[in-house]
Every structure is written in C-alpha cells, then in structure tokens.
C-alpha cells in the first residue's frame, strides 16, 4: 500500500481525486510525475534534495544528512583522534554544508563537495588542537622494504585504530596523501608546511603503520591481539 502510494504520481493522484471516470485517460497518459513528498528519501535525486534544502526544508536537510552522514563520519574518524572529536567535525562540516549549499555549482557529485568540506573542517579542528596534543612517536626504523598486504586479513576497525594512533600531523598527511589522493604540494599548502616536510612526515607515518601492521600480524599469528 505504501509502495503504491509512493509510486503514485501527481497527475494520478489528481485523477483519483477527480473520480473514476478518468481511469481511461490515466492509462493513456504518459507516466505521471511523482509526488515528491510521498517519494521515499532513497528515491530522491541529489538535485531534488539540494533544491529542498535551499528552499529551507528541514526534512530535506535531514534526508541529505542521512544520505551522507555515515560516509562522512568515516572520513571524520580518520582525521580525528576520538569519536567525540569526529562527531564535532561532522557537525561543523554539515553546518558549513547547509549554510553554503547555495554556492555548490553542481559541477561535481555532491558527495565530493561534502567530503572536501569535511576534510577542511577536520583540518580546522587539527589547527585548533595543534600544540595541545603531544604524542610519543616511539622507536621505529627509518624505512621498511615494500610488502604486499592481504586486504581480507584486516578489519576496518583495526586499520582505523592504527590511523588514529598516529600523531596528528602524521595522521593528517597520511590521510590526505594515501587515502584522499592529494599531492605533497597541496598538502603542504593545506597544512601550512613545506612539501619536503609533508614527504618526510608521510614517510614516517608509513613506517609506523607498516611496523604496527607487522606487529598486528605477529600477535595475530600468536593468537593474541593487542593494540
């Protein structure tokens, strides 16, 4: 019943309200345009959601949030050290999204635009916290030989924990370079550091992660999992 009502178009609804005599014309007429208020959120297009948000609809804002919140939370978790911090970044990012949505030119998928905003929010948070967090980097070798990792051996939570344990500046550089795909020059501009510094920090982060992955493998082979 609900599916039927969701699929019912505006003209179909109009004909239904007009009476049974219009059934023939309904069959002959082209497929009716859907009544957007009755369409489930998953069937709404990005453009419709954006238009609804621009019109000030809180419902459409909720739809937009529901559609992208999970993916953006994962992004924020990578940049933040804790879940609380990630939630703060997520909230700040979505406020920026809703208040600047009119500036979105629709030249790229909305998700890319929102992801960029989330990354910027995370960098702002990083700048605010810089100097407050000092983590011991521990003792790690300068570099390690290349190694192939089997993806199925590692869970999302394990890898996320490893990234969150990195020092903030390493975490930023690693996320931006390895996952987001930024170049070191761009990273240097974003973080206010030189390109060389970005390279060296990334190299250092990579060594730390590789070492930790090896330790993880070793513990796992011994049947012990330790952080």
């Amino acid at each position: 019943m609900s599916a039927l009502s969701f699929a019912m178009g505006g003209r179909g609804l109009h004909n239904l309200l007009a009476g049974g005599n219009s059934s023939a014309s309904v069959a002959a007429s082209p497929p009716p345009a859907p009544v957007r208020s009755l369409v489930p959120p998953s069937q709404l297009t990005e453009a419709e959601i954006i238009d609804g948000c621009l019109a000030g609809s809180r419902l459409m804002q909720k739809h937009l949030y529901d559609r992208f919140a999970a993916r953006m939370m994962a992004v924020c978790l990578r940049y933040a050290q804790t879940t609380f911090e990630a939630e703060d970044v997520l909230q700040e990012g979505f406020v920026t999204v809703f208040t600047n949505l009119s500036k979105f030119r629709r030249e790229c998928p909305l998700e890319f635009w929102i992801r960029r905003i989330m990354i910027n929010a995370a960098l702002r948070q990083h700048r605010r916290n810089s100097g407050l967090v000092a983590m011991s980097e521990g003792e790690y070798p300068e570099d390690l030989a290349g190694e192939e990792f089997t993806l199925s051996n590692y869970a999302f939570e394990e890898l996320l924990t490893l990234v969150q344990e990195l020092a903030p500046r390493y975490r930023m550089v690693f996320n931006l370079f390895a996952i987001e795909g930024y170049g070191h020059k761009e990273i240097g501009e974003l973080l206010g550091i030189s390109e060389g510094t970005s390279k060296s920090q990334y190299s250092r982060a990579r060594v730390i992660l590789k070492t930790k992955l090896e330790r993880l493998d070793a513990h796992r082979s011994n049947g012990i999992f330790r952080k």
């Binding site: 939370m73 994962a74 406020v95 990792f149 089997t150 890898l159 170049g183 070191h184």
Partner: protein
C-alpha cells in the same frame, strides 16, 4: 618511499596490495553511522543560526521603523512649527485697517444690516461673520496719515462699544436659534471687542485659538478679522487630530513586527532556543570573549552642523502683555510718528517673529565615552557651539530689551521707524556640558546607533546686528544685566546614524542626523504658560570620531 605526485586509483579491487592500497580500500569508502544525537545537535545549531538571521532582520526592521518614525516626527514637528509661524501676520492686518472712525462707523452700519439676517436663519450667522470680515476689506481706502493719539483711541473705543453691542445683539439672537459653536465664538469675540476691560479675555481667546502671537494692539482690525482668526484657529485645532491619529497609526504600524517575523513563523520555541544556546558551538563563545576584553573608556570628538531656529516670541512676554496701548500702526513706514513704547514693542516683536529665519549652527564637542555594556555607552564632556539666525526690523527702539531691533541709532528718546525693513542678524555662542546615552553594536564593521541626551549650556555671548546701521549693533555677555536672553539654557537632543569601526583599528567613525529641542526659552521673559512657550530647536547632521576601546592582547590558552 612515497612519491610527490599521487597517482593512486581508488576503485581498483585487487585482493592484495601495498600499504596505501590496503588503507585506501578499507578506509576510503567505509561507512560509520554517527550517533543519533549528532543530528539533534546539528538541528539545534541550524535552528540557532536561523534564529540569529531572523534576529538580525528584526533588528534591521526596527532600525528602519525607528528612522521612519523619527522622520515622520521631524516632518510633523517642522510642519507644525511652520504652520504656527506662518499664520496671517498682524502687520497685514494693520495695513488693511483704516482709521478707527471710518471703519467703525461703516462696520456699525453694515453690521446693523447683517444682524437681522443672522437672526433669521442659522446658516446666515456665518454670512454675518463673513460680512463683518468683508467690512474691513471692502472699506479699505488709502490712508495718508495714521492716527494714534489718545483722543483717537478714545473715539475708536466708543465706536467699538457701539459695534460690539450691535454684534452682541446679533450674536445673542443667533445663539438663541442655533446654539452652535461658531455663534458662541462670535459672541465671545463681540463681548471682548466691546469692553475695554475684557481685552485680556480677548487675548486669552486668541491664544486659545492658536494665535497668541498676534498682538491685540490693533483692535479695530480685530473687529474685521477676529472671526476669521478664530476660524483659522478652529481649523487649526480640528484639523490636527486627524493627521496626528494617522501619524500614530503609521508609527504603530512601523513598530509592529513584520509579517515575516511574526511569532508563528519563527520555528523555534523558547525551550528549543534555550537548548540551542546550551548546545551552541564553542567557537561562538570564543568569538565573543575578545569583545568583553575591550577597554571601556574611549575619547570622542564630534562636530555637528545644523539649522537653528531661536523661535523666540517676544510679543507674548509678560512685560509686553502687562498693559497694552492700542495705538494704530501706520500702513507704511514712510511716516515716522511717535508711538508709545509698548505698542512699538509689540509691532517690532511681531515683525521679528514673522521674518524670523533659521540660520546655520555648528557645535564642537569633546567627550569621554564609557561602555556600560556591549550595547549602551555613556558619553559626557564639554562642547561649544555657535548659532545664527536672521530676521527683519523697521524699528529703532530705545527700550532696553529690544534684542530684535538692535540698539537705538539716534539720540531721540522716541522710538522711530527706518525707511524700510532692515535685515537683522543674531549670533549666539554657548559652552556647555552634554550627557548622552548611545545604543549600538560594539562589533566591528558597519553598524547603526541611536543616541539620546541632554545638555546644559551657558550663553556666553549674543549679538544683534542691523544691516547698514553699525551703531545699532548690540552685544550681550554673561555679565550683561540688561540681556533679554537667558544665560543658562537646557536642551534635549537625539539622533542616530551609521557607525564604522575597522576590524583592526582602535577608532570608529559615526555619522547621522541629530535634532535638538530647548527645554527653556531663549528669551528671559517668555510669558504665557509653560507649555505654550516657543523654544529653540535645531536639526542637522553630526559626525564624530572615537578613539580607544581596542582589544587587549589575546590570552594564551
């Protein structure tokens, strides 16, 4: 070692790979549902921001409404004062008046003719009044010599008694028929005209009708136009409430909350707002902290240029009204008869007021400003100002308090006329202490402000200059005992405008209109009741610069 150029391909789906591939595949497209309260907090924050924007719009609407109200009040006041000072001048009345004997005689005859008509029908009462008005106009003839002797005055008095008694009979008959307001008015005027002892009541009646400025020294002319004056007064009184009520409605409408800001359109309840305030982002609090660290003391300098009207009514002074001499005034200034001092004084005072024009005024002030809070600032300091005004006079008077005519140019002990009207310039210099409260935003950038305050000033110097007659110049200082002006003047003032404070500077500029109204009259002996006195006023623009109030160095956290 990682390369500078990033050429990773996020969509590749190899089962094994290097470290970058591992993290990219596992973390790049992951999804983690945030907790429910994140949306609730986000919803509250959006609500707070939406309400902030509403609040800003509401503030803007209120400023616009206040500016409109100020404009309406200013225009209304100006029109009111303009109308009050441009009613038919008594000099024209005097010019159209003939010698008392002829006027009264013809008026008597015509009034006797008009009396039966007025007693016949209600509507003809108005005709009767019009006829008597017409008498003065129709019977106007060239008068070669003016008469103002005591004998003439006595003659005109007796003639006036006859006319008055006739008018009184006609009025009584009219009252008997109609009991109308206008007939009562006619009767009152007739009684006043007929009895020399009731001159003061005539003056009171005229004042009540809004024409207190016009001297009753020219009684024969009043016979003809007393009713018209009262009609004007009545019209003046009855016409005002309608626009005043409309003005009130306009003001009320202007202050009403706009439709877009009606409570039902605001999406937040008070509880939601309170909750939103609790959940407000920390950076908002961080932004407000520097505002609280501003220095509270500032130094302000202001300059105001305005149009100033001393608005003095010398003719209504207690001295002038104590005893009036009804000597006639010549229809032109070529003749130079001698008049009694008070008649000439009244003539000169009326002439002064009729020709009085506002002049430029400027004020310089240095004040200390103390920020009571983020919105209110108290200002006080010192100021000096200079005002000018102009009028015209045709008299040279020997009276000691004839500020409007300057000093007597001749040695004659009798008051004389110039050959024509001569321009007179008045200058007033004051020093004083202003106190004001200013309401406005303390934020940087452009903002609006409103200011109300009061000032107490000392009139340190005033001067009167008559064109072409240097000897008539007269100066008064604080030590002048014969000065016709008050030495201590109090006034209230208000204004508003725009303020600009650069973000990284310790100064701000303000510019806006300012209006000032005197609490006491400029002349020392105003006479009349407190609420009927004419007080000085000015309207102009004020620019000010304020130094200080810069932010203290940021606290290292």
């Amino acid at each position: 070692m990682a390369s500078s150029a990033n050429n990773h391909t996020p969509n590749e789906s190899r089962p094994t790979g290097d470290l970058e591939h591992l993290f990219r595949q596992k973390l790049g497209e992951a999804e983690v549902a945030p907790r429910q309260h994140v949306w609730e907090q986000l919803d509250h924050e959006l609500l707070v921001r939406q309400n902030d924007s509403y609040r800003r719009r509401l503030l803007l609407h209120r400023w616009i409404a206040a500016a409109c109200a100020l404009l309406v009040l200013g225009c209304g006041s100006w029109l009111l004062l303009h109308n009050a000072t441009h009613l038919p001048p008594s000099t024209e009345i005097a010019a159209t008046t003939r010698p008392a004997e002829e006027t009264t005689a013809e008026a008597t005859a015509d009034t006797q003719l008009s009396a039966p008509r007025s007693s016949a029908t209600t509507s003809q009462l108005r005709n009767g009044a019009t006829t008597s008005t017409d008498v003065a106009a129709v019977t106007e003839q060239p008068s070669s010599a003016a008469t103002a002797s005591a004998a003439l005055a006595a003659t005109s008095q007796s003639a006036t008694d006859d006319v008055a008694s006739t008018l009184l009979r006609a009025a009584k008959s009219a009252v008997g028929i109609t009991q109308s307001e206008s007939s009562n008015s006619v009767a009152a005027n007739s009684i006043s005209l007929g009895s020399s002892a009731a001159v003061s009541s005539l003056t009171a009646a005229e004042r009540q009708a809004g024409n207190g400025a016009y001297s009753s020294a020219f009684v024969p002319s009043v016979l003809g136009i007393g009713n018209s004056q009262n009609e004007l007064g009545a019209n003046w009184l009855t016409a005002r409430p309608v626009p005043a009520a409309a003005e009130r409605n306009t003001v009320a409408a202007a202050f009403r909350r706009p439709e877009t800001l009606q409570p039902e359109t605001l999406p937040a309840s008070a509880n939601m707002l309170a909750q939103a305030a609790i959940n407000a982002p920390q950076e908002t609090a961080e932004e407000e902290k520097p505002e609280r660290k501003r220095s509270k003391w500032r130094l302000s300098g202001a300059y105001a240029a305005s149009s100033y009207n001393p608005n003095i009514d010398f003719s209504s002074s207690a001295t002038a009204n104590a005893a009036l001499d009804f000597g006639a005034v010549p229809s032109n200034n070529s003749a130079l008869p001698a008049y009694s001092a008070r008649s000439a004084y009244q003539y000169g005072a009326s002439e002064y007021r009729d020709n009085l024009e506002a002049g430029p005024a400027q004020r310089i002030a240095i004040a200390a400003a103390y920020a009571l809070n983020n919105k209110w600032t108290l200002l006080t300091g010192v100021e000096t100002s200079q005002q000018r005004a102009s009028s015209k006079t045709s008299l040279t008077l020997n009276d000691t308090r004839t500020a409007f005519a300057g000093q007597a140019a001749s040695d004659s002990s009798r008051n004389q006329f110039y050959a024509g009207q001569r321009g007179t310039e008045f200058r007033y210099s004051t020093v004083g202490v202003p106190v004001a409260m200013r309401y406005g935003s303390a934020k940087t950038g452009w903002s609006l402000y409103a200011k109300v305050g009061a000032a107490v000033n000392l009139l340190i110097k005033s001067s009167t200059e008559v064109d072409g007659t240097a000897a008539a110049a007269r100066d008064y200082t604080l030590s002048s005992s014969e000065s016709p002006y008050r030495k201590v003047l109090a006034s209230v003032r208000g204004g508003g405008g725009v303020r600009y404070a650069p973000a990284a500077a310790a100064w701000s500029l303000s510019l806006g209109p300012v209006a000032e109204a005197g609490l006491n009259t400029l002349n020392q002996d105003p006479g009349g009741s407190f609420f009927q006195r004419s007080r000085p006023y000015s309207v102009g623009l004020e620019a000010s610069v304020e130094f200080g109030g810069q932010k203290s160095p940021a606290v290292v956290r």
